[in-house]
């Protein structure tokens, strides 16, 4: 304790004033001089006296002061026996009833299946794809585009699906390069007009070309999968797998079972015709399959 007295110098109190105020607080002002540095200090303290009255039953006091802990679990202090639970809200009366109503309404929404659904477009309670506002806006836009096309005066050269109808009348006036493909189409349309039929649009031409290289396979075994067609049917007939663009096996929407029909798109119409020639009437997985191009099938129908 001596060392403390030497290092920390106790200031010498010169004067002390105590002022009592109206609001029950006391102001104590002390003037002092530090003997080590000879500096004068003035300290102001505001003191408020508070009285706490704790009423205790004498028996409770005695119980908690003299009783010792007993029992295995109580003496084992390594584990915490008591913990405070956080975030417990307590509402009473009207507030409680309101919160309960809110909860119930949110529960109802959940049972319908869509509290999480939120449309990015309008913020409603549905998916973006089925948003009615977006649908309407798209329709209006389409209408506007069609109207503009009609206004431009080229309504004769536009088909119902919105694509251009290529004719020599239109392309004679235009200073554009005519490709071989386009020339074929123009000649075909010229023939159709001379025969008295309606000319085809660009879209219909593309569809026809697609049909030419699409194979229609029927009477397939129901156990055949797309992989079987890709890996067994074509290679066994001498066509490598890289000649196939895509395979589409038709299935029942509900059960997922095969219907025995498949559409296969190959590289070009030459391959398609070769395929149809070679594979038609051959056996594959215990059935005899029919293979034909979609174009030939459609012409048969008409």
């Amino acid at each position: 304790m001596d060392s403390v007295a030497t290092t920390i110098s106790v200031p010498e109190i010169v004067k002390r004033e105590i002022v009592e105020k109206d609001d029950g607080t006391k102001e104590i002002i002390t003037f002092s001089i530090d003997p080590a540095t000879n500096l004068k200090h003035k300290t102001v303290q505001i003191v408020k006296q508070m009285v706490f009255i704790e009423r205790k039953s004498s028996s409770i006091d005695q119980r908690h002061s003299t009783w010792k802990k007993y029992g295995k679990e109580a003496l084992n202090t390594s584990l915490e026996k008591c913990c405070i639970v956080d975030n417990v809200n307590f509402m009473i009366g009207e507030k409680y009833l309101e919160s309960k109503k809110l909860e119930e309404s949110s529960k109802k929404d959940e049972s319908k299946g869509g509290s999480v659904r939120k449309c990015d477009f309008c913020g409603g309670n549905h998916m973006k794809l089925s948003c009615p506002v977006r649908k309407q806006m798209r329709q209006e836009q389409k209408m506007k585009e069609q109207q503009q096309m009609q206004v431009e005066g080229e309504s004769k050269n536009v088909s119902k699906d919105g694509s251009e109808i290529p004719t020599w009348e239109l392309y004679n006036n235009k200073n554009t390069f005519i490709t071989s493909k386009l020339r074929e189409r123009l000649n075909k349309n010229q023939e159709l007009i001379e025969q008295g039929n309606e000319p085809l649009s660009q879209f219909q031409f593309e569809k026809l070309e697609e049909d030419k290289k699409t194979l229609f396979i029927s009477n397939l075994n129901l156990n055949v999968t797309e992989e079987d067609i890709r890996r067994e049917l074509f290679p066994s007939n001498g066509f490598t797998m890289d000649k196939i663009e895509r395979v589409n096996l038709v299935k029942n929407k509900i059960t997922g079972a095969s219907r025995g029909i498949a559409y296969v798109v190959v590289l070009d119409d030459e391959v398609a015709e070769a395929c149809a020639e070679q594979m038609n009437g051959k056996g594959f997985m215990s059935t005899i399959i029919n293979v034909e191009t979609l174009a030939s099938k459609n012409t048969k129908k008409f």
Binding site: S59, K68, C82, M91, I92
Partner: protein, 337 residues
């Protein structure tokens, strides 16, 4: 709201209780341990160890020096709460519940007619100084199946004010009243009884002044019965079966707890099991608030005699002490509306 979670028991709770002053909290569980807690801080003061079966009922003397427990290992034991010592041990039968009279003179215990024992209610004399009970019961009220007035097996017990009556609930949902002086003289006549429930009564607790009692039953109802006239005063309905109910001091409220059976709990979401403790207005009979937090059925609820907190014990072994907020004490009902 301040909530304490007391971690001690590993199996389901059977009863939670406060002592008379409300500074000690006792919890009895199925693994045979009784925990003694500081009711304000949640500190574990001691454990009473020695019961070999589930502790079904317990009661502390009003001076908080001794405790009597009834257990599933067919024993009735007396304990010193100061040291945790087991003072006495009697083999009686499967004890269902224990009660001590308000003046600490008598101890009553209800014995279930299972495991080869006879169903009965036995009353013992209690020595206030040593905490020991008399070797032989003063009287034994036997369950008589041929007597028409004996309605069912004896379940829960309770003494009314001034040692006047002994109340016994039966498992078919009726409450029997016996005059204590008559019982002690050996006259086993039912003074009065009322059939209030359709199913077993799970809990029977008294108001702070011991003039009316509240019952909780598995038939979803809780009822208040007057001690003197045996009239049905109030009926409270719940959506799910009830396990426990109690009356709060200071405010005119009622606390109820319960929930679905444990066997059907796994089939439903914990949100729909009804494991919340409900707070109802005692007089107007409307739901005011609820306390969420238990993940299983609530087995027992007890209110601090000072009215500032309450404790709940669940079937999953959790004990929670809930301290009321100022809004609880400020709540009033507008009658004009």
């Amino acid at each position: 709201m301040r909530v304490l979670n007391l971690v001690l028991h590993t199996r389901n709770l059977n009863q939670v209780k406060y002592n008379k002053e409300g500074d000690l909290l006792f919890t009895a569980a199925a693994e045979g341990i009784v925990g003694v807690w500081n009711a304000f801080t949640g500190e574990l003061l001691g454990t009473l160890e020695g019961n070999e079966g589930t502790v079904n009922g317990m009661a502390a003397t009003t001076d908080s020096r001794f405790m009597i427990t009834g257990s599933g290992d067919a024993t009735l034991r007396t304990w010193s709460l100061q040291t945790g010592e087991n003072l006495q041990k009697y083999e009686l039968g499967y004890v269902n519940s224990v009660a001590i009279s308000p003046d600490n003179e008598y101890v009553a215990c209800a014995i279930s007619p299972i495991m080869g024992f006879e169903g009965s209610v036995q009353i013992y004399k209690l020595n206030k100084e040593t905490g020991e009970i008399s070797e032989k019961p003063i009287t034994t009220l036997k369950y008589d199946p041929e007597n028409k007035e004996n309605l069912g097996f004896y379940g829960k017990l309770g003494f009314s004010y001034e040692n006047k009556y002994l109340f016994v609930s039966t498992n078919d949902g009726s409450v029997l009243r016996f005059k204590l002086d008559e019982l002690l003289n050996g006259e086993h006549k039912i003074d009065n009884y009322i059939k209030v429930h359709k199913e077993v009564i799970m809990d029977l607790q008294f108001s702070p002044d011991l003039t009316y009692l509240i019952t909780a039953s598995r038939d979803r109802f809780s009822k208040i019965i007057d001690v003197e006239s045996m009239d049905l005063i109030k009926t409270y309905e719940n959506m799910y079966p009830l396990n426990t109910a109690c009356i709060t001091p200071i405010k005119d409220f009622v606390l109820m707890g319960g929930g679905q059976d444990a066997k059907s709990v796994t089939t439903t979401d914990s949100k729909h099991g009804g494991f919340e403790i409900k707070l109802l207005h005692k007089i107007f009979n409307n739901e005011i608030s609820e306390f969420k937090g238990h993940f299983g059925p609530v087995v027992s609820v007890a209110v601090n005699p000072q009215g500032t907190s309450f404790t709940s014990g669940g079937q999953d072994g959790t004990v929670r002490v809930w301290f009321f907020e100022p809004t609880y004490f400020d709540y009033t009902v507008d009658i004009s509306e």
